[in-house]
């Protein structure tokens, strides 16, 4: 199992969380901490960049749901970018794509996040 590494990049009202490695239920602490930091920095939208995601199990998908609930509770928005065809299919299969907008690149994601 590869560790989860999350890189936070603040760009005005939006934050980019670049996720590297694995996303499983064990990633909860790191992911929620990163989100908390983004929110504390004033981000009203968070872009999840999955370009370097290597592995995700169903625990990881569940984690994204709880993250989404937390974002919505704070009036924030979540968008996603960098999904490979494989992970985009998983978003579609789980119908997570109906709640988290998916964009092909970071620029489009940023535009959507700050719209």
């Amino acid at each position: 199992m590869t560790a989860t590494v999350i890189e936070l990049d603040q760009k005005g009202p939006a934050s980019i969380l670049r996720i590297e490695g694995d996303i499983t239920s064990a990633s909860e602490g790191d992911l929620m901490a990163a989100y908390g930091l983004a929110a504390a920095n004033g981000a009203t939208a968070v872009i999840l960049d999955f370009s370097n995601l290597e592995y995700m199990n169903s625990g990881g998908i569940g984690l994204l749901v709880t993250l989404l609930v937390r974002a919505q509770r704070g009036g924030g928005k979540l968008v996603a970018t960098g999904l490979s065809d494989h992970y985009r299919q998983i978003f579609e299969l789980t119908r997570l794509d109906e709640a988290i907008e998916i964009h092909d690149d970071a620029e489009a994601a940023m535009a959507a996040a700050t719209a």
């Binding site: 560790a3 999350i6 890189e7 169903s58 709880t66 919505q72 960098g82």
Partner: protein
């Protein structure tokens, strides 16, 4: 690990190969349970999946876990056992009809559940095996199920002890399901999984298992845009089937 940076984003290179590819169900638009024997499949075939984001009611996060003290069984072996004998751990009166090829990604299983003990109506529905690996497997519910949910069954090691766990993210699917959930369905759902985990523990030799339960409402908002889920309600369908059975029998419409 969280790192912060103020530099421009790196270009998006091709994604590394993913190790989970074989563990996920393939994309499916509509479910098919035609190959599952033992129960009617019309409550599931043709339906879409419906997860915790597509339900009407409040969102609950639940965890049921049992320490298998004294049982000499590794987590991966427990998962093999759980997949092979899944229906046998369910409380009496509730039925799980596994696909012929077993619990594997993409397979569909059928369920017959009595909403209340001894109830004359049995709810016919099913689940999709969304994900499965050596240490866990996850079901996702179809449209019509009383819950729009994911539930993951897993096993892990804690020192010398294997722990079996069931974790759910669930929303009652429609307004009637939400009402039933509030009026006792939530508690009954917990009792069901506590009994299931207890039966699993006894099967591996734990004489008096203790199931630890955590149940938290993580989203108190109801998703009113999904009130129309009621049109797919397996509860209403099953009740109508039961009530009209005598008439159908008389008229030969089976």
């Amino acid at each position: 690990m969280v790192e912060t940076k103020d530099t421009a984003p790196a270009s998006a290179d091709a994604a590394p190969a993913n190790r989970d590819a074989a563990n996920w169900a393939r994309p499916v638009d509509r479910l098919s349970a035609a190959g599952v024997q033992g129960a009617k499949d019309d409550a599931v075939t043709g339906k879409r999946v419906s997860g915790p984001l597509q339900g009407f009611g409040q969102l609950w996060q639940k965890s049921f876990s049992v320490r298998l003290e004294g049982a000499d069984i590794a987590p991966t072996d427990l998962i093999v056992l759980w997949k092979e004998r899944f229906p046998t751990f369910w409380p009496k009166g509730q039925s799980f009809y596994a696909p012929l090829s077993g619990i594997a990604p993409g397979e569909v299983a059928l369920l017959e559940i009595a909403p209340l003990p001894g109830a004359p109506v049995k709810l016919s529905t099913g689940v999709l095996v969304l994900y499965a690996d050596d240490e866990s497997f996850t079901f996702m519910t179809p449209e019509g199920h009383t819950l729009s949910a994911w539930i993951t069954f897993s096993a892990r090691r804690d020192g010398d002890v294997t722990i079996a766990q069931a974790e759910a993210l669930e929303r009652p699917s429609d307004p009637f399901d939400e009402l039933a959930y509030m009026l006792g369905g939530n508690r009954q759902n917990n009792t069901f999984w506590q009994a299931t985990l207890g039966n699993l523990a006894k099967a591996v030799g734990v004489a008096e298992p203790t199931v630890e339960t955590k149940s938290v409402c993580i989203d108190k908002n109801r998703q009113w845009r999904y009130w129309r889920n009621v049109r797919n309600s397996a509860t209403i369908r099953s009740a109508r089937r039961t009530l009209t059975a005598p008439v159908r029998k008389l008229t030969g419409r089976g």
